[in-house]
């Protein structure tokens, strides 16, 4: 399998562990990634919060590059995925806007590709059996909750590949790695990541709720797929108690696959996950 790959700004800076682990894990599963040539920013929250035309045209430039090769476009960052998918949705469903965007970006939309998220590709294309058979070191004993956040499930008609109120695919992947996935009701509650820098008091309150609910569910860590959630969840934990590790599901896949690169990822975290990973019998960290 070969895919177009859009790393995005977050996953190549503050959320590097995501880009690094997605590349390593998909390579281990035999997926070839072709980085989108000269990709540009998707506009993130700032474009859609302030200029609706720009919010479609900026990601559309990347769609224009993707359709040259016609391969499906993989966006590991949930926020980029949501912006690319929204632009793609507009191009497919709104003929008037499509014409405007084609003029702004100077291309002709063919739609010969789909925008994809790694969770979706791992479960639907690669399959949980293939994941299971690649596991060298089952993650038995590690207790965590799976956390989707907002952007991979809402609005469902545009972005969702899983149930918007009760998504299960992330938990299925973690289960396939041998983890103990704790059940909780907050997998799609907002962490306030979009307000992390502009109104951090809100992020502090929402992150406080999520970590408390995760603890009550019996989890020692939160597993996410979004670099904005990951950063907000690590940065905005307050209080004197120890902070809960927040890791990407692809990092755990790398650990279970026995990839040697994993140790480099753990070092990049603001909350060091290695004490938690020490719970693994074989001492995976």
């Amino acid at each position: 399998m070969k895919l177009n790959y859009y790393p995005g700004c977050s996953a190549t800076s503050t959320g590097q562990e995501l880009d690094l682990s997605v590349r390593a894990v998909l390579a281990a599963l035999g997926v070839e990634l072709q980085e989108l040539e000269d990709w540009s920013c998707c506009g993130a929250s700032s474009a859609h919060a302030t200029n609706r035309a720009l919010a479609v045209a900026l990601p559309a430039r990347n769609l224009a590059i993707a359709q040259r090769s016609g391969l499906d476009l993989l966006a590991p960052c949930a926020a980029c995925y949501s912006r690319l998918k929204t632009a793609d949705y507009v191009m497919r469903h709104d003929a008037t806007k499509k014409g405007e965007v084609e003029a702004q970006v100077a291309f002709e939309f063919t739609g010969s590709y789909q925008v994809r998220s790694p969770i979706d590709v791992v479960v639907r294309d690669i399959g949980l059996d293939a994941v299971r058979s690649r596991v060298l070191k089952p993650l038995a004993g590690l207790k965590a909750v799976g956390y989707y956040g907002c952007l991979l499930v809402r609005p469902p008609e545009v972005v969702a590949f899983d149930d918007p109120e009760h998504p299960v695919m992330l938990d299925q992947i973690l289960g396939a790695l041998g983890m103990e996935v704790c059940r909780w009701s907050y997998a799609t509650d907002c962490c306030g990541g979009g307000l992390n820098l502009t109104k951090s008091s809100v992020a502090v309150r929402l992150v406080g709720r999520l970590t408390q609910f995760a603890r009550e569910a019996g989890a020692d860590a939160i597993v996410t797929a979004c670099p904005l959630c990951q950063m907000s969840l690590e940065m905005r934990q307050t209080g004197n108690g120890s902070r809960m590790p927040v890791v990407y599901f692809t990092e755990l896949m790398g650990l279970a696959f026995g990839l040697k690169e994993t140790s480099g990822w753990w070092k990049k975290h603001l909350v060091d996950p290695r004490p938690w990973l020490g719970a693994l019998a074989a001492g995976g960290a």
Partner: protein, 174 residues
């Protein structure tokens, strides 16, 4: 009743806010309603009543986290999230003063950097944002480790197709 404002919001957001019957479901699920002055459904009511200054003068439009929960659950398929986007765009275009000035300042800066390099450059963003909002020491406890861990590049990357990016900014009136 003056419908100029509601017509403006409907057009930009592509919603029909008159369909709202104030069941309150959006507000019940809104993660930041407690931080808001009005909350999502009352913001819609005020738009229906033509209260432009009260809506755009309130911090609510910048406190909205764009989580899309309201849009997912509304029985009348109204996206309050899209309405919030439209209100922010109007507020910025028409220069409304707001009790939450950090958010529009951040978005302007963010887009300024993307318009210049084609990609985000976090170091520039954080530095200028801190100077603008005069919060120089905020978040240094996470910013400095991120730089030390090599997560925030010091130098920006510039997209080769900057003429294309600049064209997009120009053509979309930003």
């Amino acid at each position: 009743m003056d419908t100029t404002f509601s017509a403006q919001v409907n057009e930009l957001s592509e919603q029909t806010i008159e369909l709202c019957y104030h069941c309150h479901k959006c507000t019940a699920g809104c993660p930041v309603a407690v931080e808001m002055e009005f909350g999502p459904d009352r913001v819609l009511r005020l738009i229906q009543l033509g209260q432009k200054d009260r809506v755009l003068g309130s911090g609510d439009i910048w406190v909205c986290a764009s989580c899309e929960t309201c849009a997912t659950r509304c029985p009348n398929e109204i996206s309050v999230a899209a309405v919030m986007d439209a209100l922010r765009a109007i507020s910025m275009a028409e220069g409304y003063a707001t009790p939450e000035p950090d958010a529009p300042a951040f978005h302007r800066l963010f887009l300024g950097i993307v318009g210049r390099f084609g990609r985000m450059h976090e170091a520039s963003l954080m530095m200028i944002y801190k100077l603008k909002t005069r919060k120089l020491m905020a978040d240094m406890d996470s910013g400095i480790p991120m730089i030390l861990k090599g997560k925030i590049p010091i130098l920006p990357h510039r997209v080769r197709g900057m003429n294309e990016v600049k064209r997009i900014f120009r053509e979309t009136g930003s």
